[in-house]
């Protein structure tokens, strides 16, 4: 079998219902996920992320496009083929979904016996995996005797005991408190790294986004780029702030503008310098920690723009195409009030020079 990319999606579309009631849930979704990669799938409810997860998990057969999981094409796949793929995937569920009448040992055994592992070998593997998730002492307890976090760990042990190449987790932290949630995610991350599994984690929980190697965002059944998602969310929130508390909005904007000019004037900011800045903003400027972070981020954006100038050869933020769009748009903006003044042209040329772009783009779209 193909041991290459565990998950490859191409132009996947999916609809529920038939005829007039047909409702399309996914539109031309495509991505590839490699072994050892942890991908977080986010999106508002109803965006189709659960449907996408069930397609990858072989819990439904795909209708359109191509869903290749472990080399098996799942487009219009038979129930038998789906079952075969399911057995090679580790599932972690929102509410652990352990079988209440079975001990933790037996729950894990349920997954192991699917792969035909029995007897002493099974006993050893179960003990090992429970050791890894830190439940060795609870092997013969029933799920009802464990805490939420422990149950989720047991669920992880069950998902991982077959050392699957793919792990799918659906809101694994939804029913857990902050610390247990963090522990569970770290555990998934560690174990997946050790086993080299591809992990897809569906979550609403922003606190765990940092474990991701990549974030996929679905909205209304379509993939969206992260920059689009961040821009949209941030601009919406800034608009809200402007509307409900213009005074604070101005105060924060002013601070970030000033900070960018003062602190980053020399283009060099060390971590200790940054910590000191946070302390000052908090203690002298009397800002709340979240507000401090916000100002830091806004000014960092401006610093990044400058860094783009300095590293333009090693790491160009603006490639040829984008440079052209960039300049054209500046001229168009100058033209927006109907007249392009000479001051405006001078400013644009200065920017172009700073960013190392030839301002030969005189063929403005007037």
């Amino acid at each position: 079998m193909d041991t290459g990319t565990p998950i490859a999606l191409e132009d996947v579309s999916y609809s529920f219902g038939k005829g007039a009631l047909e409702k399309q849930i996914l539109f031309d979704v495509g991505t590839r996920i490699e072994g050892g990669e942890i991908v977080i799938l986010t999106g508002p409810s109803g965006s189709g992320k659960t449907t996408l997860l069930t397609l990858i998990g072989a819990l439904r057969s795909a209708q359109k496009g191509s869903v290749k999981v472990l080399g098996q094409e799942l487009l219009k796949a038979s129930e038998k083929a789906l079952i075969k793929v399911r057995r090679q995937i580790g599932y972690i569920f929102q509410s652990h979904n352990l079988l209440d009448s079975l001990t933790i040992h037996q729950n894990v055994q349920m997954a192991l016996q699917l792969g035909g592992v029995r007897g002493a070998e099974a006993g050893k593997r179960i003990a090992d995996v429970l050791q890894r998730v830190g439940l060795a002492e609870h092997e013969h307890k029933f799920p009802g005797e464990l805490s939420g976090g422990q149950k989720q760990r047991a669920g992880i042990a069950r998902a991982l005991v077959n050392r699957p190449q793919i792990v799918l987790a659906d809101e694994p932290t939804a029913s857990l408190d902050k610390q247990s949630g963090r522990d569970v995610v770290d555990l998934i991350q560690d174990l997946a790294r050790e086993d080299g599994s591809a992990v897809i984690l569906v979550t609403h929980d922003n606190r765990i986004l940092d474990v991701a190697d990549r974030i996929l965002h679905l909205e209304d059944g379509r993939m969206k780029s992260l920059s689009e998602v961040v821009s949209e969310g941030t601009s919406r929130m800034l608009n809200l702030l402007e509307k409900h508390d213009p005074h604070s909005a101005n105060y924060l904007a002013t601070f970030s503008f000033a900070l960018a000019r003062v602190a980053y004037a020399d283009s060099k900011v060390s971590d200790s310098e940054r910590d000191e800045m946070r302390r000052i903003l908090h203690e002298v400027a009397k800002l709340e920690p979240a507000e401090v972070e916000f100002i830091m981020e806004l000014s960092m954006m401006q610093k990044r723009a400058r860094a783009g100038m300095d590293n333009r050869i090693a790491n160009p933020a603006l490639d040829k195409d984008r440079a052209e769009h960039f300049l054209s748009s500046l001229y168009a903006i100058a033209q927006a009030d109907g007249v392009t003044s000479s001051e405006e042209i001078v400013e644009i040329e200065a920017i172009a020079a700073e960013f190392g772009l030839a301002s030969s783009s005189n063929s403005d779209p007037g």
Partner: protein, 385 residues
């Protein structure tokens, strides 16, 4: 530890109260089925007690006779005609009629009893009565009494066993009891006396010696009953029927089973037991499947097949069948032991009937399991997310 997780058993065991309720319900159904079937069986066995006890190969009776206690007469000459056939060794003319018996200890209490008369020189009752008893009934107004008759006939058995002389009024005639034989009661019969044809006619003066109720035909050893029966039938007019032992018994059983509602009632009772059991097991298994739908969906998502889940439910059904059958059979056995004493009916649990009821129970549980499985079809693994 088990090589494979015995999921069905563990699911049942996890809900102790429900398991106890299920087992009790099934045990109840098993008892109901056992009792009904066994009473039905006892009805048939007891109905042909005399058919079994008398010594004959072919029986002759009136076509109008549909059960023993209400026999119609036919000419005795017909029976003696049979003596002329090749292969017939002997015949016995039998008179039968319900007569009124007064309890010797309490003469105000009268009760019907079956009176049987035959010529003591003929061999039809040689299995039931000893040679001595056959001599004794030649003496006028002496009869032999069924010691397994109901107690309402009075303490005859006890008195005779104690060596006392016992006499009773039968049809207003004082009759001495000269001994006892053993047959037992049935649904239509509480007890019996056997005596000579002459004594029978003394008790029933309106009966004629030439009109008999049954004729017992004994064949020479090695004769084929069916073959002789065919020859007799051909030669003798249709005003009598000639039946083999089995056919003779079948007529009686047929009457109780089909013509009276008794056989039907017991069969119906057994079916009711089966249905009660079916509903109980269905309820239990259905709610079990219902409660575990999410878990079963999880198993499907992990890669378990529908067939695996079906086996889990069937496994539960079989476990319930076994657990319910054992106490059910035990209690039914107890009921039969007590019941046989109280009713003098042949209530006993044979291995065959126990095996039969076990198969019924198993079928009942498996059937309920299959009904409950329809719910399982709807389990969609995609719904666990």
């Amino acid at each position: 530890m088990f090589a494979v997780v015995p999921l069905g058993w563990l699911q049942l065991k996890a809900q102790k109260l429900r398991l106890v309720a299920a087992v009790t319900g099934i045990a109840f159904a098993v008892i109901l089925i056992f009792v009904q079937l066994e009473f039905r069986e006892a009805l048939f066995v007891s109905a042909v007690r005399y058919h079994t006890a008398m010594d004959y190969d072919l029986a002759m009776l009136s076509p109008k006779t549909d059960f023993m206690v209400s026999s119609k007469q036919f000419p005795r000459g017909r029976l003696y005609q049979v003596l002329g056939f090749d292969g017939v060794e002997s015949v016995t003319a039998v008179y039968m009629r319900l007569v009124s018996w007064r309890n010797p200890a309490d003469p105000s209490n009268a009760r019907n009893i079956l009176a049987i008369g035959f010529d003591p020189s003929e061999p039809g009752f040689s299995r039931l009565l000893s040679a001595e008893q056959r001599e004794a009934i030649k003496i006028p107004d002496q009869v032999i009494f069924d010691r397994r008759g109901r107690d309402e006939y009075g303490p005859v058995r006890e008195m005779l066993d104690a060596g006392q002389r016992v006499s009773a009024e039968i049809n207003d005639r004082r009759i001495a009891i000269a001994g006892m034989y053993q047959v037992g009661t049935s649904f239509g019969l509480d007890g019996g006396i056997i005596t000579s044809d002459l004594n029978f006619l003394r008790i029933l003066p309106t009966r004629k010696k030439s009109a008999i109720d049954f004729g017992l035909i004994k064949l020479e050893p090695g004769q084929d009953a069916a073959e002789v029966q065919a020859r007799i039938r051909e030669a003798i007019p249709m005003d009598v029927r000639v039946l083999t032992r089995q056919e003779f018994k079948d007529v009686e059983v047929q009457y109780w089973n089909k013509t009276t509602p008794i056989g039907y009632i017991f069969a119906f009772g057994a079916v009711m037991g089966l249905i009660v059991g079916l509903i109980i097991v269905y309820q239990i298994l259905f709610s079990d499947v219902q409660d575990h739908l999410k878990e079963y969906a999880t198993l499907k998502a992990m890669g378990y097949t529908h067939g695996y889940l079906r086996n889990v439910v069937l496994q539960e059904a079989i476990i319930l069948a076994v657990l319910g059958f054992i106490p059910g059979m035990g209690i039914a056995h107890l009921v039969f032991t007590k019941g046989a004493d109280a009713t003098r009916l042949p209530l006993e649990m044979s291995v065959e009937s126990a095996a039969g009821v076990f198969m019924l129970t198993l079928g009942m549980c498996a059937g309920s399991g299959l009904l409950a499985l329809r719910k399982l079809r709807a389990v969609d693994p995609a719904e666990v997310f």
